[in-house]
């Protein structure tokens, strides 16, 4: 479980996050949704410790990230897996080396154990046999899946995905959503997905947080989402004609 307490963050005189609080529950896929430029990625970076918020606290199972010693921060980081918006694969390394990288850097496993673990993760994301290719030789959807494989290779307790299916065809997008949900339930981890794809929201949204210009305007699950009375949320959801027709 991750508790996010009253996060405030400004860049210069531009206030991006104006006090966001929420709880990300274990064993569920938590979603942050909202329009472009509302501060979703900034909030994620605050949570994973890449951008220090001006105010507020992040609690990982009651460990306050920003008020901990470097050792505690390191140990929390070792429990995180992060999929970045563009995959962020190391371009000078093969797919296999990319996934093995955290094992090389942070564990003392034997070479054989590492290879086995990497093969397992590749198979988990449906990419058996692509280990020898370079990131520049695989498609966008495959990069995202390699990114997920690298994020789960250390058996994380917390999984973060920034727009895991933006720019993908609907079929691949659904597959990635399902993969994230499966992993979350299988290993009972705390997962946070950032998205503005309504498909994934309806598909995997168990705990949805709606962000609008730096505020949290709504929180709930995909059952109650359609029946909220928050005007901004409705505008966001029913931008899609199909969903508009569905409601009426």
């Amino acid at each position: 479980m991750i508790e996010i307490k009253n996060i405030v963050k400004s860049f210069g005189d531009k206030e991006v996050l104006k006090g966001v609080s929420c709880i990300l529950r274990q064993g569920e896929t938590n979603l942050i949704i909202g329009g472009s430029g509302t501060g979703k990625s900034v909030l994620l970076k605050c949570i994973i410790g890449l951008i220090k918020p001006d105010e507020g606290a992040i609690l990982y199972n009651d460990r306050d990230f920003y008020n901990s010693s470097l050792e505690v921060q390191q140990s929390i980081r070792r429990e995180m897996g992060v999929l970045f918006q563009g995959g962020a694969l190391f371009d000078s390394q093969t797919v296999h080396q990319n996934i093995q990288f955290p094992l090389d850097m942070l564990t003392t496993m034997s070479e054989a154990d590492k290879r086995e673990r990497v093969e397992f993760c590749l198979q988990r994301v449906g990419l058996e046999g692509t280990g020898k290719r370079m990131p520049s030789e695989i498609s966008g959807g495959m990069k995202k899946r390699v990114g997920i494989a690298r994020a789960i290779v250390m058996n994380p307790k917390y999984l973060f995905c920034d727009e895991p299916n933006s720019g993908l065809d609907p079929l691949t997008a659904v597959k990635i959503d399902e993969l994230i949900k499966e992993i979350t339930q299988e290993y009972n981890i705390t997962t946070l997905v950032i998205t503005h794809d309504m498909n994934s929201v309806m598909e995997i949204g168990e705990n949805i947080i709606f962000l609008h210009s730096g505020h949290k305007l709504w929180e709930g699950d995909n059952q109650t989402l359609m029946h909220s009375d928050v005007a901004e949320l409705n505008e966001f959801i029913f931008a899609n004609k199909l969903l508009r027709d569905l409601r009426s």
Partner: protein, 242 residues
Amino acid sequence: MAIIGKYFIFLGTLFTRREKLNVYWRRFMEECVGVGVNSVFIVAIVSTFIGAVSCIQTAYNLVSPLIPVSTVALIVRDMEILELAPTITCIVLAGKVGSNIAGELGTMRITEQVDALEVMGINSASYLVLPKVLAAMFTFPMLVILAAFLGILGGYLAGTLTGVITPRDYVYGIRDSFVPYNIFFMCVKPFVFGFLISTISSYQGYFTKGGALEVGQASTQAVTNSCIAILVADYLLAQLFL
């Protein structure tokens, strides 16, 4: 001023919170290939031609019958060792290695690869930059020794093939009143320049913000700043050591 302060803080982060030693060893070897071995070709070409040209031009300027012909070789040798080999080679390397480092780190920054390292709890500055700096300081002196050798050889070839100097005079000239200390000075320069080029270019690349356009700008800036730093350092070293 603020930039210089930030540069020194950046240098500080390279040495704090280090990773496992064998990780650095592997990265150091990779970088030696990237920074050093891959530069051998360009260094060889440039230094051979510079040596050839300086021999021909010196001979052209020394027409007095009072000066022995072997002086041409002596001048080529001293120019090569004191200035041309270390400084020109490092200016060439600033262009090649500097833009390469800034481009690579800039791309890693804007594609969030640096963030990915940080999130794993790895000191990205130290992991990415320190091996580059050490590799530059290790390989640049070797490249400069190669450059000086090829420069003097280039002078020999150009001088003897065009007939401005006989092989005997050339060999006599390059052995005449030789100061071994100059060789030491020649190796100090690339050691310092390697540090400057790699850290300045890394700094430019590591703090890139924005997109592909800014990566290009960071590369250009890295080369410009490295060249300025080399020339200033060249002057200071000459004051200090000679």
